[in-house]
């Protein structure tokens, strides 16, 4: 199960646009068409988006789920260390999620 070089290149271009939030309506339609067309393209899509998501999740946290693997082993550069608006929101959501979990856990006790 594999995809040819040209289709792979098309997918990479579209997925890169997706990762950087610059995929327009036409691009999305083309990506959907390619991904739904065959299982190999879906596999490629999943691998790529999963890589993007893992970088997002792990790099922000600095650890994986086990808490053992340090992904970010270099200090942040000046100016990038503070929480930006987006990452403040991201951490805010995680705090809310954890707080919700604690509250529900107390309710379950």
């Amino acid at each position: 199960m594999s995809i040819d070089k040209s289709q792979r290149e098309d997918l990479v271009q579209l997925l890169e646009a997706l990762c950087e939030d610059r995929l327009g309506r036409d691009g999305a339609a083309r990506l959907e068409e390619l991904v739904l067309a065959d299982a190999a393209s879906r596999q490629f899509y999943l691998d790529y988006v999963d890589l993007h998501g893992t970088l997002y999740w792990d790099t922000a946290r600095g650890v994986d789920d086990s808490g053992l693997i340090e992904v970010a082993d270099e200090p942040r550069v000046a100016g990038a260390g503070g929480l930006s608006g987006t990452s403040s929101r991201r951490w805010g959501l995680r705090v809310v999620t954890l707080a919700t979990a604690v509250l529900v856990a107390v309710g379950l006790a």
């Binding site: 990479v12 890169e16 997706l18 990762c19 950087e20 939030d21 995929l23 309506r25 999305a28 959907e32 991904v35 739904l36 299982a39 879906r42 596999q43 899509y45 999943l46 691998d47 790529y48 988006v49 999963d50 890589l51 993007h52 998501g53 893992t54 970088l55 997002y56 999740w57 792990d58 790099t59 922000a60 994986d64 789920d65 693997i69 992904v71 970010a72 082993d73 270099e74 942040r76 550069v77 100016g79 990038a80 929480l83 930006s84 987006t86 990452s87 403040s88 929101r89 991201r90 959501l93 995680r94 809310v96 999620t97 919700t100 979990a101 529900v104 856990a105 379950l108 006790a109």
Partner: protein, 183 residues
């Protein structure tokens, strides 16, 4: 008789086991959602909603069954609900696409998790400047655009660099997988 007595470890309560499963699968459930809604901020919002539902259904989960599959059913429902609530917004993908991708993501869950383990090693193999760029792009929670502004580099140059690094990480993970398969 010795005053020191050994005590058998206490068995976990169902609630404790549930909490462990819930915690262990946080990242996997988030990534499952992201496969269907590739905007990480939206995926986090849906993840939060799904977490609330998962917790509220604690007493309906049967310990010993597949927690991840159960949580993903809830998460997929929350993805569709999120779309419905925002039906006036522009959605990138159709419901058919979401259902198909969700089904494949669940089917390939173990393989995807294996790839994530290799990714950590592949990150360690990057050149330092590439690793720093990835950290800036993701750790700052911003975008290629904001990193370009921060570094004073043209945005297309940053997009090209990020693309090259993500491709090389993907290839590295593929190589690690095939090496493992032949060893």
């Amino acid at each position: 008789m010795s005053e020191l007595q050994t005590t058998a470890p206490q068995a976990e309560t169902p609630r404790e086991e549930f909490i462990k499963l819930f915690t262990r699968y946080q990242r996997r459930v988030f990534l499952f959602i992201l496969s269907q809604v590739p905007n990480p901020v939206e995926a986090e919002e849906i993840h939060q909603e799904a977490n609330v539902v998962i917790w509220s259904k604690f007493d309906r989960f049967e310990l010993g069954t597949n927690f991840f599959a159960w949580a993903c059913q809830i998460a997929n429902y929350e993805v569709l609900k999120y779309r419905e609530k925002r039906r006036r917004d522009r959605h990138l993908f159709s419901v058919d696409f979401i259902r198909q991708v969700a089904s494949d993501a669940l089917e390939q869950a173990d393989e995807l998790e294996e790839r994530r383990q290799f990714l950590a090693a592949c990150l360690g193999k990057l050149r330092q400047q590439d690793r720093e760029l990835i950290q800036q792009r993701y750790a700052s929670g911003e975008s290629g655009k904001s990193v370009a502004e921060l570094l004073g580099r043209p945005i297309n140059s940053i997009y090209q660099s990020l693309s090259r690094i993500r491709r090389s990480l993907l290839e590295c993970v593929n190589r690690q997988l095939s090496t493992q398969g032949t060893s």
